[in-house]
Symmetry: C2
Subunit: 385 residues, 2 copies
Amino acid sequence: MAAAQRGRAPGGPDWARSGPRDKRPTIEMVAKRAGVSRQTVSNAANAPHRLRPETLQKVLGVIDELGYRPSKAARSLRTRSSQVIGCRLLPSNAGGTGGVLDRLLHALCDAARSKGYDVLTFSVASDDEELEVCDDLLGRSAVDGFVLANTHYGDVRPEWLTAAGAHFVAFGRPWGEANPAHSWVDVDGAAGTSEAVHHLVALGHSRIGCLALPEGSGTGDDRFHGWQRATAALGLPCSTLVARAEDGIRSGKALTEKLLSLPEPPTALVCVSDALAVGAVRALEDRGLVAGRDVSVVGFDDSPVASVLRPRLSSVRQPIEAVAQNLVEVLLAEISGTQRRPSRCLLSPWVVARESSGPALAGATGRTTLVTLPTPDSYRKEQSR
Amino acid sequence: MAAAQRGRAPGGPDWARSGPRDKRPTIEMVAKRAGVSRQTVSNAANAPHRLRPETLQKVLGVIDELGYRPSKAARSLRTRSSQVIGCRLLPSNAGGTGGVLDRLLHALCDAARSKGYDVLTFSVASDDEELEVCDDLLGRSAVDGFVLANTHYGDVRPEWLTAAGAHFVAFGRPWGEANPAHSWVDVDGAAGTSEAVHHLVALGHSRIGCLALPEGSGTGDDRFHGWQRATAALGLPCSTLVARAEDGIRSGKALTEKLLSLPEPPTALVCVSDALAVGAVRALEDRGLVAGRDVSVVGFDDSPVASVLRPRLSSVRQPIEAVAQNLVEVLLAEISGTQRRPSRCLLSPWVVARESSGPALAGATGRTTLVTLPTPDSYRKEQSR
DNA sequence: CTCGCTGATATGAACGATCAAGTCGCCCCC
DNA sequence: GGGGGCGACTTGATCGTTCATATCAGCGAG
């Protein structure tokens, strides 16, 4: 059995077992043992088609036997690329959108690794600090590019990074920028809330309210507009069923109480965040109502809490894995210089239907709306580029 | 103004503004411009005491002027150290101990950066996969060492890493290993639950129950024993007030219902996780009881949910920042070879008192226990090594 | 006066890979 | 049969540092 194959064997690789720890096999050793030159070994790994099949076989055999792996530092020095992606570690406010960013980091690591890249993380308190760290990492050639999360109105980071000549891709549209000079990947929040509306309509609802954030937040407005467009397009009488406030469970509860007090209260609520949705469910509980039976609630982000809540929360789930894959692909294209013009990529989320959204009560709507629409199951299409 | 100082200026560093992007200043350029040799420039950064003050001044001036920063790859190649720490990204099950591991990663990045190290993360599904990735990272000399989180009984990772000659520190004691050959840092869970008991006794409680995990989990047992020892030492009649089950909100609720049905139910509960504590609070709610008034509840981990819960949850908070600092310090010592024998470090958590723990009702306990103990405030001592 | 020592700086040689030119057969075609 | 072209490999140079050693001036001791 070859050393590289038993790399995970109890004793660890050969070079670790005997001799000084920092004497890994180099390309030279492989070359000598295989009776070829360095370059041939290098080619065996990087351009196999250049070798005669038998030579390739022999070299690969020796590589495997010695457990050779190219030194990252040496390769990095020569090729001027670190094969590392930098990414700011965002505070995961577990209640809100936190779970999403956590999933993103995981998916990013996976996607990067599958392309031979590593992910380097750093924790900073502000965008300014983030740029300081980026500057440092770029200066030391520690990373080849960045993934920028949490874009927002008036974000100075894209401009700065562009000016610094750094490669990067943003997760999130360049809110407020007319014609952005950089690539981005984002999730179509409007499509998500729109699907949520359709999902509820399919369940027989027609008075579908919306809990949204105050105007001015990119993603918040986007999601709100999805609800707005969908209800308008379907001709639903919902324009008065909107309540907006800062994100949070308390907010959601307060807003819901307000909407429920209306003369014609909504029979379903589309919330632009799970925190708001949790608040909505609580407000219902306080009135002795059950989410999904008396009033349906759909959240956004499918955060971990969604599935542990008492009536499990229906929620719009973002295709984070696909987002990460796209981010990495685009970033690598950007780094390799393949990319001529900035790329844009908008992925669609989908509704995960759980107990908190159920059929409308005939008595509640006053009339039954008959609409032919796809069934909830068909929403589970994950768009992967 | 020097280029390095205006590195964060709108235009970005000089080398980015004009000329090809990958033409960073090298040590050679600095040397030529300062009229000295490479080595002198190198010394200016790495061994300033070797230079005559005036020379040092001049060299530093040029370094600053050109915005020179040593190439990570070149230095890494020569010194055979990557200045990078590897760390597995753990799934943050937001309900459970997830928040803790998230905090850990943040703190780890901060602590590492302050020592000139970077943190490289990877996401894997199992311990076996983790070792595969470690093997890969070691093979490519991509990292100098690892932080191992989530140690458990029968953990094969320490042994494997030791055999592979890798440097690492564990967050978590080597549960079940007689005399561990590796360094670790951990939080004294027993001390935490013990403090929780004392906190509750100070509030007048004497029938203090415990929600614990099934025997066999390292941290779970540790925390349970803290409650056990504290109640025994104080002579409290609590031995029957124990309920154990898997972690989770449902579990906590079920266990609490069981304890509340006892002829002499507990007036306070120490829970070995926040998830269990949340369950406990829910069980109380179902009976129309209020946590902190009728029955006190103390959780463990101070997860994000603790402070957003309805009666804000008292919880034992781990000094994660101190843990991270220690992990990094120990790991670096290990890497530098300074460390002769494995180091062990046990830090104390403390109780964060919130609404869910309050004074015992005189009627509930049957008698008022008068004990002189430190006030809740005095528990807020953060031990930082 | 010379030797040895020390402090300050300079020079050559790694580190381990890849790139850019070689070299060497071999076959084919005019 | 000479030369062009190509496939398969080799050889030198290079990436930007730091290590190990050399140089060289100044100075005190024998």
